[in-house]
Symmetry: C2
Subunit: 108 residues, 2 copies
């Protein structure tokens, strides 16, 4: 049994861009921790045939799904269904951590 | 944008059995909060063609994946790949909350 930590001990940061910490993956999904320093972002994009869920774990940021943008904080989550544009901007002054699911992974 | 809460405000309990709180679902996955009172369990079972991930959010419990059992607590997570037997037993004295992913959902 491979136990993976997904709390603060697993967070990792990159000065140049959003850091993606892989937790689990298969041909059916991936589950990552996205760690965003203030000012970092995931630019709006879309995937045909893949659903994505963002679950805010720590901090606050601006989330886009479709044409709607909204600030979300800890304990809030949103889904971008297949084909919906989605992105994150950490426009807060604090670090932002987002548990991110994609099913299936986009590369298959 | 439908914002779903996944923190303590979303937890719900049933006296007779494990409570499953649905967060998001599609033909590609479901994401639930499993809320287990002390003594409640999800009996060991397996799904062909579906992967499952348990992420412990609150409390402690005994998790089985394959032939291995282990006590997990907050910030720990395990994956049961397609076909692997998996289950949860809340053998602690406290409530247990587990963020649970299945991809794809078993019923399709």
């Amino acid at each position: 049994m491979k136990v993976q930590r997904w709390d603060a001990s697993a967070w990792a940061w990159k000065s140049e861009k959003l850091s993606k910490v892989p937790l689990f993956a298969s041909e059916r999904f991936f589950l990552d921790l996205y760690c965003l320093e203030p000012g970092q972002s995931q630019k709006p994009h879309a995937h045909a045939g893949c659903d994505k869920v963002y679950l805010v774990t720590e901090g606050r940021g601006r989330f886009r799904v479709g044409e709607v943008e909204r600030e979300l904080g800890p304990g809030e989550a949103v889904m971008a269904a297949s084909g919906e544009v989605h992105g994150i901007e950490n426009d807060s002054g604090e670090r932002l951590v987002v548990l991110t699911l994609m099913a299936p992974p986009p590369s298959r």
